[in-house]
Symmetry: C2
């Protein structure tokens, strides 16, 4: 019942069940594995065409499965968008955050930066960094999707900041450095690389910004190191 209600909300029209009978190639997706496969496709589509442009109809057509099958997984467009954000988060954590967990302080900060740049450069999402695009797309769209993106972006900035603070406590970064500001500048530079790479199809964007970020970190550490 819920799926039907949500469907009406998302499309603005009642669902036409007769379509399913007319199209024998449509399949009903089943189980968790199918859900993951759907979300992988949805994340890729959203990274290319935007999260707002991702409709249940478009996704169903792209996967050649029935809309009703998709509604069994995602009750509304907003539910689908939220699920896509979670799927993208999982990929981001896997590629960028988790590999740095074995390090602390300055090594962790550098590793987080390297992982982010590899994630951007390696086109983990075909349309570039999912969260750079989604955060600019949803900054003026109040609701659950925006709230979640804000939460995740804050968490990510905190990840950089905490690593820098750890490094500062360990004497690796000089005391007078504002580590929140440092984290923010790193993130701005990384997003700039993503922007240039996507817009200008510039293959050198990530290499240039990798140098700029490492230099920025080096400036924050130089004095502390020279005092040792």
């Amino acid at each position: 019942m819920k799926a039907g209600q949500q469907q009406t909300k998302a499309s603005g029209r009642p669902h036409r069940r007769t379509n399913a009978a007319r199209k024998p190639i449509l399949r009903r997706p089943r189980g968790l594995k199918t859900r993951q496969a759907i979300l992988q496709k949805a994340v890729n589509l959203a990274s290319l065409e935007g999260l707002e442009g991702l409709t249940i109809g478009k996704l169903a057509s792209s996967l050649r499965i029935s809309k009703s099958g998709l509604f069994a997984h995602f009750g509304s467009k907003e539910d689908l968008q939220c699920a896509v954000v979670e799927a993208a988060r999982e990929i981001f954590v896997e590629r960028v955050v988790r590999p740095a967990n074995e390090f602390r302080g300055l090594k962790r900060l550098r590793d987080l930066c390297e992982n982010w740049l590899s994630y951007g450069e390696g086109k983990v999402f075909p349309g570039g960094c999912f969260f750079s695009a989604a955060s600019l797309e949803f900054d003026d769209r109040p609701g659950r999707v925006r709230d979640r993106i804000v939460e995740l972006m804050k968490k990510w900035l905190e990840n950089l900041e905490y690593a820098a603070r750890d490094a500062q406590l360990a004497g690796e970064i000089k005391k007078e450095v504002d580590v929140r500001q440092l984290a923010f500048e790193i993130q701005a530079l990384a997003m700039g690389a993503n922007w240039s790479s996507r817009l200008f199809r510039d293959p050198s964007a990530f290499r240039l910004i990798r140098g700029a970020i490492l230099q920025r970190i080096e400036q924050a550490t130089r004095l502390a190191q020279s005092r040792e």
Copy 2:
């Protein structure tokens, strides 16, 4: 008229034309002045909801004018989008580039940065920097709109780079600085301020990044000045 626009936007429903005895309130837009007024509205709408979400129907409804009247000005959605990009460019040039034309070298570089930050902070476009959003929205949408955005963003980066190169030739910026890289880092930081201000509703974003940009420029000049 403004109240009517707000109502349509707030309710998320199209304006009900039946309210006013069929269609006596519909007006045909006339002349250049009307075109400019339409484009101003369109630029503001696009800065909030994205350039791709801007349709002739939505804009007509928001302005309470007829779609046919809008078609007289803009033959297609793509023509409308291109006209909106030009209108946004004109505003950007007026607010950011032109005031710096009286300066050269380092002073010009600093003035371009200050003007950009004031333009972002002052909400010249209600949805934040029009070009930051549009370039991430169109990076995967080939066509005339994308081509023009790429051209304009390149021009803007060149503006920063040429000012820095002038400063370098005048001995204000040290010789070993890669001025193209410097221009790019400035732009990345400025877009980061826009991102943080829009996403986190962070009122300190522009102030913090103003400091970071001026510091970055200062680093590029320090040695050159100390050699004088």
